[in-house]
Symmetry: C2
Subunit: 320 residues, 2 copies
């Protein structure tokens, strides 16, 4: 089953979200609008809005309240991607030129700032102070993580814990908070919105580990950017970390530098694949997926819960 | 009278703010801490926290509530400076190397993001939704202004209205909001917190115009950066705009480009000074100052009001 089919009962609400996303990004400045729309239209799975809406289904769900949180979370995600592309010197994302490559780093910086500010503006429609505290705290963690990611580049003596902490801040927290804030906006009790946070956190970890695997195993066409990009940029992810347990492979991986010839990189990727690191990374992702599914069991039975289960399994097992 | 003397009765509270500023910036990441502390310790007048506190004196003033707003506004200001220095390729601010010159643009970008996130976290201690709406809306305006500033660089056919709109977003709004949020946090009525907003707005305009004058008239030592920097970076400010009303001077100003030799720039600055543009810029600043003082008259008489009057006059008339 395709991802979109899983939440087809939300289709009309998802359309409202899409419309709201476009309408939000209508600043006076044409340049800013172009740069923001460019990011918006590059697409993406809109997985955070979907989690917001599904979590809201555990409480008093009103799309006109929920949409503020759903759009805000997607905008925060977009803003972080725009800033990320500056850090990664990325020219392509989802097969499209990035803001920083189409314009420049400065425009990308302020486009990110602007999109983020729009998200904050939307969130002020939610008059629940717990939601704001959780979100602000998450954003602090995310920015700390972003600096850590720069420091960890090409640091070959890092371990799996460093990696897990990094992806927590980079991905899992914002997905966890999407679930939690969706629930809070719908008036869900603390006991359950904390469970939804845990669910989102585990799904987010599983999701990012798979993403990091696909960077090694998928094709340029499917990724929308060259495969092996992470390693070449010095982002040491789970497959590389597992592979480095073998001293011979480690010695090769440690040779990686930004200007390495593509055929050299391909050789190293091939070594990593042969080392069993991909399978071990899938097993790591699976452990998070299992935890996500277990937390879900503690929530009341309803259609949203079934959908969250389907999405988690889809995300945690996708091979492309 | 020196600026600090004007609000000496706030000294113990200002010390609390300074301590809180330092304590807030204590992240896990040493690099982030260093970059943030560097910005913090570069100093500055802390004029926004002072406005927050003084505005709070019109209501129920509790320093343990007020400090959240005061520190948040200073952090937002700091964050915007760190991002500004990336845009301006500035190597010096207040005589100190900027984050972007001491580290690099990427670190500067995320340091700004981090400091801004800390500000949001502090603001969540203020459980007044009006405050959050006003702040979020202001931040949207500020980011739109930042993009506009990039677009307006070296655009010699702009007019005074473009300039005024730019400095509104760049400076005046955040000072206006410092006054307004200080008042809101202290429970001041809408009628009066809107007056305080107007006061801050006019003072902010006056302040920035003077700043832009000083860039032409002051010394490198006093500015902490070479004089004439604005023009050289393509920032067309009030003195240049007035001077361009003379076609001969305009023709010279339009020759300015980023790699112009310093002696050439000095010649043009000298032309601008001779054109009467400095005096006209002072008169422009004065008009805003007068408006600020007039709004202030509509507020209840107290020590804070007297101090705001003194500060406004000091700011609007400083010649160095």
């Amino acid at each position: 089953m395709k991802l979109k089919m899983m939440y087809s009962f939300l289709n009309s609400d998802i359309n409202i979200i899409e419309k709201e996303l476009e309408e939000t990004i209508q600043p006076e400045s044409l340049l800013l609008k172009q740069a923001s729309m460019h990011t918006l239209q590059a697409g993406g799975k809109r997985i955070r809005p979907v989690f917001v809406l599904l979590a809201g289904k555990f409480g008093q769900y009103d799309i006109h309240v929920m949409k503020n949180v759903a759009v805000a979370l997607e905008l925060i995600h977009m803003a972080s991607l725009v800033h990320d592309d500056v850090i990664d010197d990325a020219d392509l994302r989802r097969g499209q030129p990035t803001v920083k490559s189409k314009w420049d780093n400065k425009i990308a910086m302020y486009t990110g700032d602007f999109v983020f500010a729009l998200a904050l503006e939307l969130m002020t429609n939610i008059e629940k102070s717990a939601a704001h505290k959780i979100l602000a705290n998450t954003i602090v963690e995310v920015t700390v993580g972003e600096i850590q990611q720069i420091k960890d580049k090409f640091r070959f003596n890092q371990n799996l814990r460093d990696y897990l902490r990094r992806i927590k801040r980079k991905t899992a927290l914002l997905i966890a908070v999407s679930c939690q804030l969706g629930a809070i906006a719908a008036g869900v009790d603390e006991f359950f919105h904390k469970k939804l946070f845990r669910f989102g956190y585990y799904v987010g970890m599983s999701y990012q580990i798979i993403d990091d695997i696909l960077d090694f195993t998928s094709t340029e066409k499917a990724l929308g950017k060259p495969s092996g990009s992470d390693l070449l940029q010095g982002n040491i992810t789970a497959p590389a970390l597992y592979a480095m347990e073998n001293d011979v492979v480690r010695a090769e991986i440690e040779k990686v530098h930004e200007n390495m010839a593509p055929e050299e990189v391909l050789k190293i990727i091939s070594l990593i694949k042969q080392s069993g690191a991909i399978e071990r990374s899938y097993a790591l992702s699976d452990r998070y997926l299992e935890k996500a599914l277990a937390v879900l069991e503690e929530l009341p039975e309803n259609k949203a819960k079934k959908t969250l289960r389907d999405i988690a399994k889809y995300i945690g097992r996708r091979k492309f």
